[in-house]
Amino acid sequence: MKDEVRTIVEKIGGVVEEVKKSEIYVRIPQQTVRTAARLLYDSEAYFKTCVGVDEREVNGFYTIYHIFGLDSQGVDIVLKVLVPEEDPQTSSIVSEVPAADWCELEIQDLLGIKFGGRLTKRLVLPEDWPDGVYPLRKEFRYDEKPSRVIREELHEEAGIPVGPYHPALHEPEYFELYVEGEKVVDVAYRGFHVHRGIEKLAESPRFTYKQVPFLAERICGICGFVHSTCYIMAVEKAADIETPERAEFIRSIVLEVERLHSHLLWIGVAAHLLGYDAGFMHAWRIREHVMVLAEYLTGSRKTYGINVIGGVRKDLNVDKIDKTMKTIAQVREEFKKLADALLSIPQIKSRAVGTGVLTKSEARALSVVGPVARASGLYRDVRKDYPYLAYGRVSFRVPLYTEGDNLARLLVRVEEVFESIEIVKQLVDLLPGGSVVVEEYDIPPGRKAVAAIEAPRGEDVHFVITGLGRPYRWRVRAPTYQNIPALRAMLRGTPLADAPLTIASIDPCFSCTDRVLVVDIETGRKSFIKLVRGG
C-alpha cells in the first residue's frame, strides 16, 4: 500500500479485510459509512458503483460493497457494509455521493435492502412486479416468474415524449421533456425497459465460468468485447490466473479496434441527428473497413467471441498484422478528410457549441466517465489511471476539453479515433511471441475482484465474487449507467431541437444500462404541461 493510500484508508477507519495489488477492502460499520464515503469522495476518489450481495450462506449477512476508485493512485477502495438479515436496512450515502443514487435504488429493488435518509422509488423492476419479491436473493430461482400485479398508472404522461420509440433513440428508452416554447426546462427519465436479469442468470446452474463471457459479450451490441474482457479480467484477477502476454496484447488490439468502430458509428449518428446525412454515410463507410478488419481478426463483425478465461481463442499471424496496419492507415487518411469536412459544416458548429453543457462540478459530483468526463474537464481514462492489459506499454494522449458542451464531446471522440489508431500501431509493433491461452487453471470460490476497462463510452466496471463452477455474484456497471443522470443537467436550458443530439452526446447504450425500475414524476413538475399545450 502506498503511503498516500494508507493515510486515506486510516482516515476512513474500519477494518481492512484484504489488500490486493489494486484493491483494498475495508469493512465499515453501518453508522460510519456516510462519513467514510464523504472522506473518500473529498479525497479525489470517484464513485464507481455499489453492489448488493446476498451473502447469507457465507456470513449470514447481506453485504453492500461501495466501490470507490482512487484514480490518482490507481487503486480501488471498496467499503464493505454488512446488513443483518432480520433488519435489512442501512444508511444511504447519496447525500454525500450523488453518483450512488441509481445503484442504491437498484439494490433496494433487487435485494430488498432499504436505504435510510433518501427518497426512494422503483428504478429497475417493472411496475407490475409484485412487492416483496427480490430477484437477487439466493432463494429466488433464476427461472421463476412471479405473477403480475396490476397497478393503477401513477402519473399521466405529459410533456414532450422522446421514446420509448423515437427515431433519435435506437433503443427503447423514455425521456419526457418539459419545454417553454422550444427550450427544455426539465426532464424525466424512465429506463430499464430491456432489463434481462443477466446477473442472476450468470449465477444460475444454467451457466458456467466458461460460458459467461459469451453472455457478457451480449450485454452490448457495440462494445460487447469490453464486457467480456472486463468479466474475464475480474475472474482472472480473483483467481490469480496469469494470462500470456500475447493474449493481453491481442485483447488490447481488439479493444481499440472496437473503439474505432464505436466512435465512427457515434460520429455518424451525431451527423445524422444534425441533419448532415452525408457525414453519416461517410463515417459509416469508413467504419466498414474497421468492421471487416474485426471479422478478419476474430471471425465475427461484432460479438467477436474470442475471449476465454486464460487468454484468447484466435492468434494473430503475419497476414492479419499486415491487414491491420493497412486498414488503420486507410481509416486514418479517410477519417482525417471527413473530420475536416464535418467540422466545417456551419450547422454543426452553431448547434453543437454551447448546447448540452455539463459543468465540471456537476460532472465531478456524478462521477461521470469517458468522453463525457473528458469534455467537461475531468482528466480520467482507465487506460491511464489503472493501466490494464497492454496499455501500460503504449503512449497516447488523453484529449481534454473544458467547455462541457456537445461540440467538446464530439471533438474528444474525433481525437480519440486518431489516438486509437496510434495505440493499435504501437501494440502491433510490440506484439510479443508465445502462446495465447492457458488451459489449466483453478478458480477457488469466495474470491473477490473489481475490474475496469475504458470502453468507448467510458469506464466499464465488473465486480465478481467467485463461486463453485460459476460466479457467486457478478455485477456489471456499464458506462452509460454513470452518465445518464448527468443528462438532466445537460438538457436543462437546451433548445428542444438539440435535445436528441444532447441525449446522443453521452453515446448512450441503454441496453447496457438496463441489466435490471420506474420514475414517478413529482407533482411539482406538472405546472409545465400547460406551457407545452400552449406552445
Binding site: 433519435a168 451527423a271 441527428l273 452525408a278 457525414g279 454515410m281 450547422q347 452553431s350 433548445p495 431541437a497
Partner: protein
C-alpha cells in the same frame, strides 16, 4: 391556356421523376447506389393503394390535407403557364394569384399540423409558421417587383437574389426541413399521416420542390431576357438542373435550428429588402 395545361400535366408527371433523380444524386454523394429513378412514383402508387387511415380530426383533417395539395397543383399549373410566356410577360394579377395560392397552401399546412393532438405535429406546425413568416413575405415583394417590369439593373439583381433564397426555403430541404426534422420531431407535421393521405402530403412536398425549382429558373429566364417558346424550352431544360443544384446544396449542409434559421433568414432577407427599397427608390 389549353396547351399550358397539357405542358403542365407533363411537367407535373415529371416532378416525381426529378425527385427520384434527387434521391439518386444524394445517394451518389453518399457513395450509395440509391433507389431507382422512378422510386418516388413507386412510393406514390404504393401509398395510394393502401387502406385509408384518417387521423384524429376526421374529415376536416382529410379535407385540409387534400386542399393543400390541390392549391399547390393550381399554383404549379399557373407557374407552368407563366413559363410559356416568360416572367416578363406575366401580369401582376397572375403574380398576386400565385402569391395568394402559396400563402393558402402554407396556411393549410400549418392548420393541418396544429389541429392534431400530437405535440410533435404541433411543434412542427409552429416551426413551419416561423419559417414561412421569415421567407414568404420577401418572396412576394421581390416577385411583384420583378413582374412589374422594373428595368433598373441593381433592383432586378437584388430582387432576383431574394427570390432565389426564398425559393430555396420554400422547397423544404435541409437546412430548412425543420418542420419535419426526422430525428427531432419524428416527422413533425407529417407524423399522423399514413396511407393515401401520406401520399397526398408527399405529392405536396414534391410540388413544393417543383415550384421552388421552376420559380428559380423563371428568374434566370427573366434576367436572360427570354420569352415565349425559348422561355418554355429553357424552363423545361433548366428545371431538372436547378432541382439537382438544390439537391447538391442540401446534401452539403446540416439541419438548422428554428431560432437560428429564422434569425439568419430574417436578417439576410431584411437587409436585402432594404437595399432593394433604396435602389428602387433611386431608380438604379
Amino acid at each position: 391556356m389549353l396547351h399550358s395545361i397539357a405542358i403542365a400535366i407533363l411537367q407535373l408527371a415529371l416532378a416525381p421523376v426529378y425527385d427520384g433523380v434527387e434521391r439518386k444524386v444524394r445517394a451518389a454523394i453518399h457513395t450509395r447506389i440509391g433507389p431507382p429513378v422512378l422510386q418516388t412514383w413507386y412510393d406514390l402508387i404504393k401509398l395510394f393503394s393502401k387502406e385509408v387511415v384518417i387521423p384524429v380530426g376526421g374529415g376536416w383533417y382529410t379535407l385540409v390535407t387534400v386542399l393543400e395539395m390541390l392549391t399547390l397543383v393550381t399554383a404549379s399549373i399557373l407557374l407552368v403557364h407563366v413559363s410559356t410566356v416568360g416572367l416578363a410577360q406575366a401580369t401582376i394579377f397572375e403574380a398576386v394569384i400565385f402569391i395568394v395560392l402559396t400563402g393558402i397552401a402554407t396556411t393549410l399546412a400549418i392548420m393541418r399540423a396544429v389541429s392534431q393532438n400530437n405535440v410533435f405535429s404541433v411543434l412542427g406546425g409552429f416551426r413551419e409558421f416561423s419559417l414561412v413568416l421569415s421567407a414568404e413575405p420577401f418572396l412576394a415583394v421581390s416577385l411583384l417587383l420583378l413582374v412589374s417590369g422594373v428595368e433598373a439593373a441593381a433592383s432586378r439583381a437584388i430582387a432576383a437574389l431574394i427570390l432565389l433564397i426564398a425559393a430555396y426555403v420554400v422547397s423544404g430541404r435541409v437546412p430548412y426541413d425543420i418542420a419535419e426534422a426526422e430525428p427531432e420531431l419524428a416527422s413533425g407535421v407529417n407524423i399522423e399521416l399514413a396511407g393515401p393521405l401520406l401520399g397526398v402530403a408527399t405529392v405536396s412536398a414534391v410540388l413544393k420542390k417543383f415550384i421552388s425549382a421552376t420559380l428559380t429558373v423563371l428568374v434566370f429566364v427573366l434576367l436572360g431576357g427570354l420569352s415565349g417558346l425559348t422561355s418554355l424550352t429553357a424552363v423545361a431544360l433548366l428545371t431538372p438542373l436547378t432541382w439537382i443544384t438544390h439537391t447538391v446544396v442540401s446534401t452539403l449542409l446540416g439541419r438548422s435550428r428554428v431560432d437560428l434559421a429564422v434569425r439568419f433568414l430574417y436578417t439576410t432577407l431584411f437587409i436585402l429588402s432594404s437595399m432593394l427599397l433604396v435602389s428602387y427608390g433611386l431608380g438604379v
